[in-house]
């Protein structure tokens, strides 16, 4: 009986993949791999292409990584190496609490508080200072790719922090002690003795964060603007795979339109599965079997 339950997990994993493949077969049969490169999503004429959504997903997630990675790594180092226990324990707790907040609540806050704030401050400043570079040119409305990326960054920080903190804590104390005994400073110890040792685990943590960003749905749906274009500026209103599915699946005609949405889902599944497998293997190398749950959802 326990075997059945455990087997069910493997069966579900396979079942989800197979089911999405079956349900989207019509789209793959009609458009083939050209579906991935197609830029039109025209319901009336029945032409479907995935590029705007793939681009929106990849761009928003990469931008989120650019914001979240330096912040998260410094925080993880602070919590694991520098902070005294009375500070690191509550801070770790607060960062992990951030991961527990429902995505739809983050989205609500993102729409009504964060994106107007960004529009009037950071985005205004970016357009003013860097507007001569095409990707930073205005106008910036608040709602759009940039706000979505900031929201995503906030949501993946806990993942990257808690996994890389675990990995850094797992570095043997002797590594540090040897370096400190040579007279090295904290910074030199961290940079030359701790981080190289933890490197593959940290890369894993970042990939887990990326995986979460790619699939994050509600918060992004609410702030990205839901426009089916291939975004070329960071302030463009755009659409990710997940937000496209969330906003149009229920109204879609059963048939090629639904199949194409599920085909988008299959693309997302393939990317996130691949990233998760790679990330888990990397983290496992350093932190062992334990570092399992931190990825949240």
């Amino acid at each position: 009986m326990t075997l059945v339950a455990a087997g069910l997990i493997v069966v579900l994993l396979a079942g989800i993949t197979i089911r999405l493949a079956i349900e989207s077969a019509g789209t793959w049969a009609r458009f083939g791999l050209g579906f991935l490169g197609g830029t039109t999503w025209d319901v009336v004429n029945g032409v479907y292409g995935a590029l705007p959504f793939v681009a929106g997903t990849v761009e928003s997630s990469l931008l989120a990584l650019i914001i979240a990675v330096p912040l998260s790594l410094l925080t993880a180092i602070f919590l694991a190496e520098l902070a005294p226990r009375w500070l690191s324990v509550p801070l770790t707790f607060l960062v992990e609490l951030l991961a527990a907040i429902p995505s739809v609540v983050v989205g609500l806050w993102g729409v009504f508080v964060l994106s107007p704030f960004l529009r009037d401050t950071v985005e205004k400043w970016l357009v003013g200072a860097l507007g001569f570079i095409p990707i930073f040119s205005g106008p910036a409305f608040g709602i759009g790719l940039f706000s979505a990326s900031v929201v995503l960054a906030i949501m993946i920080v806990p993942t990257i922090v808690s996994v890389s903190r675990e990995v850094i804590v797992a570095v043997p104390g002797a590594q540090r002690e040897a370096m400190l005994a040579l007279g090295a400073t904290r910074w030199e110890t961290t940079r030359r003795a701790v981080l190289p040792y933890a490197r593959s685990g940290i890369v894993g943590a970042v990939i887990l964060g990326l995986g979460r960003a790619l699939g994050e749905t509600m918060a992004v749906t609410m702030v990205i603007g839901n426009k089916d274009i291939v975004p070329t500026r960071v302030f463009d209103q755009a659409q990710t795979i997940a937000s496209k599915i969330a906003t149009t699946f229920n109204e879609a005609q059963v048939g090629i339109q639904t199949q194409s949405l599920i085909a988008l889902g299959l693309v997302l599944l393939a990317i996130t599965l691949a990233l998760n497998v790679i990330a888990r293997l990397l983290v496992r190398q350093v932190a062992g079997d334990g570092g399992g749950l931190a990825s949240g959802g």
Binding site: T2, L3, A5, A6, L8, I9, V10, L12, L13, I16, R19, L20, E23, P70, L71, T75, F78, A83, V89, V95, E96, L97, L98, A100, I101, P102, S103, V104, V105, L108, W109, V113, I154, V157, V161, M179, G183, T185, W187, E188, R212, L214, G215, E216, T217, M218, A242, I245, A246, F249, N250, G265, L268, N276, R280, D289, G290, G292, S295, G297
Partner: protein, 300 residues
């Protein structure tokens, strides 16, 4: 590596050199201080969004979270109304999901910890970890294909099943962690008394680890209660109060927040804030209580 070692320590230099602070040493100490300062700032910056979010949800939601919101059904704009349909919906969809997911997750954990070989356990654990990483909206599509399409009807049970699929790997991993803390001597004592393996697993190992299992389950419930994406194409949402109609569409708090946040009218947005506060209070309370306890147990 070598350029990281302070020049004063290179072999051959007199010991007195250790006491002299060269310019390079001052620079090193400056870099070190800057590093510690920036790291502290980063840690603070990671907590700021949490503070800002909670503050705004409380500020905007406190006014809307009243008896009307808790008790009145959804009404058309201008007629007031509340989130009763959504609250009652969540109170059905989520517990049903937990009842489905808990035994599966716990049994799976018992299998990997107590019965299986190491390689099988690693494989299943790996599958569970990868499954945690699947975007929840895809689980929603899966549940739609399996439990909605064949019946041509959005239904609450499909929503529960979608949430259950999300909860199973989470429950399994937390259960495993708490079962692994059960000392081997307890198992051996039980087996030595001639108790069969399955009874040892249930009445000794699971019994001992029960509080940890319950904690993990509560965290999974808190997470499922906030999930929106898997419910959109399954439970779908419903303006009418639906109690017991598992074969029919049903509203849920996250759906209510999502729908009302997208309306152009302030009255509806305000209801979304009120519902968000309610959901946030629940999720934070569960997390603080459960994790606070676990923290105390670990530090002892």
């Amino acid at each position: 590596m070598s350029q990281g070692i302070p020049s004063s320590l290179v072999a051959g230099r007199p010991a007195a050199a250790l006491l002299v602070r060269t310019r390079a040493d001052r620079r090193r100490s400056l870099v070190n201080s800057a590093f510690q300062g920036v790291a502290l700032l980063a840690a603070v910056a990671c907590v700021v969004p949490l503070g800002a979010l909670v503050t705004f949800v409380v500020m905007n939601g406190a006014g809307a979270l009243n008896l009307d919101l808790l008790t009145r059904p959804t009404r058309a704009l201008g007629l007031g109304g509340g989130a009763a349909a959504a609250i009652l919906g969540s109170l059905q969809i989520v517990p049903i999901a937990a009842v489905i997911a808990a035994p599966i997750g716990v049994l799976a954990a018992l299998y990997t910890v107590e019965f299986s070989g190491r390689r099988t356990a690693t494989l299943i654990r790996f599958a569970a970890d990868v499954m945690v990483g699947i975007p929840s909206i895809l689980i929603g599509i899966f549940a739609f294909a399996l439990f909605v399409l064949p019946f041509h009807q959005f239904n609450a049970l499909a929503g529960s099943l979608a949430l259950a699929i999300i909860m199973v790997p989470v429950v399994m991993r937390t259960t495993e962690e708490s079962l692994r803390l059960v000392p081997g001597s307890l198992r051996e004592a039980s087996l030595a008394l001639g108790v069969p393996m399955w009874r040892t697993a249930l009445s000794v190992v699971l019994r001992t680890g029960l509080s940890g299992v319950a904690a993990g389950l509560m965290l999974a419930v808190a997470r499922a209660a906030g999930e929106t994406a898997p419910l959109i194409f399954t439970a779908f949402g419903n303006q009418l109060i639906n109690v017991g109609g598992l074969g029919k569409p049903m509203d849920a708090l996250p759906l209510f927040i999502f729908v009302n946040a997208r309306q152009p009218y302030e009255a509806q947005n305000s209801q979304a804030w009120g519902a968000a506060l309610l959901l946030l209070l629940f999720v934070l309370a569960v997390n603080v209580i459960v994790r606070g306890r676990a923290g105390r147990r670990n530090s002892r």
